[in-house]
Amino acid sequence: MAQSFDRQKAKPHIAEEWVGKIVTLLCIALLIITIFSIVYFVASKGLSTFFKNNVNPIDLLTGLKWSPEGEPPFFGALPFIFGSFSTSILAALIAAPLGFCASVFMVEISPKFGRRYLQPVIELLAGIPSVVYGFVGLSVIVPFFRDVFPGQGIGIAAGALVLSIMILPTITTIATDALAALPKGLKEGSYALGSTRWQTIYRIVLPTTLPSLMTGIVLGIARAFGEALAVQMVIGNAPHIPRSLFESASTLTSAITLSMGNTAMGSLANNALWSLALILMLMTFVFVFIVRFLEGRSKL
């Protein structure tokens, strides 16, 4: 009696089990197929510059002159690579101290106020579309830089400042989570030994959470690296390595978005843009590996 009752009851559960398994499997299969087809697509397009059009990869990585539709064409992407790295690293240098201080304040100094009001406000920054950042940058930051510094205001400095605001939520959120996850015992032990709050934060909290904080920075750099629209609006897009932070420069993403629609698919100029996309994708992989490495070293 009891057994048959069990079996009747169990049947819907088994069905649910199977449905759940199949649905999750389909989702993950779809994801994997998407990821691999994107990688394949970008790689096949990006590599055809080298195989079909016989452009030397070393020239692409180290050349200084970019004029894919010129006579003869030049494919020097170093100005873009330089621009991408300098804007995103500079952005992280600006955003990281701000993000760390904000998270220390929210977790250690004023947890109630910080958690309830500050964190939602900072997370709100993440939801603002990048075109808005770009337009604010073009309307506020660029004229300001133009008045204060020599040059036309546009350039790596303006791009980095816009990006630093965009990646602030990433760095702050990850730092906040890391600080909050710190075992209470560590801090209490430090207090018990007679150290002040600043000594505790400086000597105990920050060193222990450093790998997580670094993860936040790397993720921030990765986001800044891939951002196209906002940077394109304020950086000026000249395919040259600038002589100052306030001179027109270019990033990998801005070069791609500026020209992709104007070039015919399969042409040499178009393939060269796909090669830039390939560099961008490989760099993203590198960032992901760095994050995995840092997570592995986390002491928590």
Partner: protein, 315 residues
Amino acid sequence: MKKTVMLLMLLTVMVALAACGQNNNGNNAASSNAGSSEPASSEPASSEPATSDLSGSFLASGSSALQPLVDQVSKKFMDANKGVSIQVQAGGSGTGLTQVSEGQSQIGNSDVFAEEKLDADKAAELVDHQVAIVGMAAVVNPEVTVDNLTKQQLIDIFTGKVTNWKDVGGNDQKIQIVNRPSSSGTRATFEKYALGQKSEDLQGSIQEDASGTVKKLVGETPGAIGYLALSYLDDSIKTVKYEGIEATVDNIANGTYPVWAYEHMYTKGEPDAAVKAFLDYMVSDEVQNADVVELGYIPASKMQVKRDAAGNITK
């Protein structure tokens, strides 16, 4: 049970989303085109763009400079022909030409001749329909005192030989170039007909693709020079004459002002009935004298000169 239904719905949505990647020029656009300003019913029957038994759906993609016109006209056309559904996409002239050449779209909008972007054999398959003319003018920051530039002066500026306005008759002020990316159709037109040669991307020059951004930067940056389509000109920037000739519709039409380009709508081979009716409607007087002028283009019918892909002008 509820959960199962939810999961099934989720799956359906996912499949539907995945299917969106395929080319479905569905008929769902036809229902969403009310609100066109044109009172179709009051028009006499003879000027209706086409008989209303046309049907079919097609995609027109490409040039973002031409997109507003095609978009507006396609809505009017769909109002008059309920069986036809037209989708208009902007993605750049190169994209438009590639898509029409590969059959992904039925009409490819372009600022430049197909010969300039595609291989010769691919370009030969495409049929050109010139629907409008767009004129371009060099513009400078309002504080720049120069109001006429010769061809040679423009060449000197855009090749970096002249870097200060005082060398071309202006104040002592550094010249800031606001250019378009080297692949841009607008830049190709400007280089071909205003400069007569290709120009390099100079160190320190600004490059923007969007006309609105170019206008904003030229208007705000001291000593800036750029170029814009005539429809973008207003008081925030100063238009300079080219070789002493003002950039006006009349000067372009009679051939004295040379910096202009055709807006092309390419089809692969001869178009089918619905596409042909749309293209005929596009060049009809009803559109040419109303929408084309209203949106700042110049009607093809008004031109007293013709130009071929090589740039040869005939009266």
